[in-house]
Symmetry: D2
Subunit: 168 residues, 4 copies
Amino acid sequence: MKEQYPAEHSREVTQLANRLIENGHEMEVRVYYEDTDFSGVVYHSNYLKYMERSRTEWLRHLKIFHTDLEKDDSAFAIHRMALKYGPPARIDDLLTVRTVLQKLTGARSFLRQEVLRTEADGSEVMLCGADVEVAFINHGGGAKRFPDDLREKLTGSPDGMYPLGGET
Amino acid sequence: MKEQYPAEHSREVTQLANRLIENGHEMEVRVYYEDTDFSGVVYHSNYLKYMERSRTEWLRHLKIFHTDLEKDDSAFAIHRMALKYGPPARIDDLLTVRTVLQKLTGARSFLRQEVLRTEADGSEVMLCGADVEVAFINHGGGAKRFPDDLREKLTGSPDGMYPLGGET
Amino acid sequence: MKEQYPAEHSREVTQLANRLIENGHEMEVRVYYEDTDFSGVVYHSNYLKYMERSRTEWLRHLKIFHTDLEKDDSAFAIHRMALKYGPPARIDDLLTVRTVLQKLTGARSFLRQEVLRTEADGSEVMLCGADVEVAFINHGGGAKRFPDDLREKLTGSPDGMYPLGGET
Amino acid sequence: MKEQYPAEHSREVTQLANRLIENGHEMEVRVYYEDTDFSGVVYHSNYLKYMERSRTEWLRHLKIFHTDLEKDDSAFAIHRMALKYGPPARIDDLLTVRTVLQKLTGARSFLRQEVLRTEADGSEVMLCGADVEVAFINHGGGAKRFPDDLREKLTGSPDGMYPLGGET
């Protein structure tokens, strides 16, 4: 698994993007030694780390902080995750992690997350895509309804649902 | 997320089990510092590492080795993974990782993997369960049919399929 | 870095050893995918994980548990570590992690830890060796004297020092 | 270890710095879930990952790429590392990793690397400092002299040594 390496972006010095997009977030990550395994590519579970970074940075943009949640006996916890892997990422790759909120119910959020690489011809290839169901829980692990302020930060409205008019 | 800790197994000195079971494998893992995160429980992507260890040890029992595969321009690569998370594992927990081969086609294997904890009352709780589709590929990433000797190791027969009589 | 692979132990099914030795502890670890990087060998920081596992299992043998310490506003924290790397470990390697207590003062323990591989000719090669200074601290990070019961577990005597008669 | 959290930078949205400094490199890293352990702080071996990221980005600035080295039967490998730990980093912290080349001989480079946090009062605190000796090796693991072009990239001169006039 050590083919020729085409991507010019692997040789650039760059500041990594980290920005809000419509209903979500996008950030860039660089593939380092720590991310790869002996087969020459990114170890499969490390895509989940990239996705968590994007969820965290998205929440930071929305002024939602893990430390505040913890003080409030709350946390987000992954409940389900359906992963599909495409071509692998390699050392030095510059990847994009895209997170889009698909649905918000009383105590769950449903996200679509993708780790993408832009190829030499400008096309985006999906290296790992995930449908992610995140539960809002208390420290005992029980489900918890999103408080109004958190719901407002996530949807723009204290009684907001995703998609608009969706059921709880 | 720092409740009382009930499980006695967390205080035992033990040799970790690693054994074949019917159509699969079972091994024990101990939860160490490295596996946990600041919320006090095992970081969600680390269950995938536990599962990979069990797949590797299962293959070792069947005399299938990653280094041999690599020399033969072959590798197993995760293609899909559907994960469901239950209660979290904590530091010092003794966990069981169970791997069962569900189906084998021409170039894919389908596994059921579970990370379990035996509670004080003897019941098993599933902390993370996964339906895993593993592709057999060459170094270029293309699908590859299982060679006869590998198929025989996995199913006991050079033209074996799982379940018996299954289609390719 | 992908030479021929000689070591037969990489092909064995084995239960991993985990035992007390004089003034310390010895355990075996298997190298999995997760431990390696794209250069084909174990990523340098992962030897520190192996060492932590051995320290934890050693403490478990001595009936010292991280969760008890935490409830008692205590923790062990690495203060210094001097690492020397030898030949690298590779996928499937069976390694030995050896931990020996060198010295115990009022609030510090000094350990010698080595990650070793037994070669085909029976000789042991040191892949990573570390002189480790561990501080005993409270949750604020301040130094804390070892309580008598902990000191007794570590040295066999409530006022025990290492080496015998050493200064505090 | 879950004190009040003072640092405002933990709540900022920011693009992470990544830049050359005199004789070295400086980059910012954000602490994510994946970096922490159940004691509430960054796991000790993860500082080594931060340091490796800075070494890699420094080399990228100098047009030195791991994939080119690999094709040329070369690699950098950590030979020794002397680590000293200070106060711990916590979730959401914005850290600075600073890498300074101290000395370059025929086949070794000696780096000083520090992971720092800027406190509320503007002072920098060292969370982890390391004196790092990096060997230049071939794939068999043997020492290798730096080729002229690599030496020029690292020092600005094809026969450059660090410090100026230093011995090989």
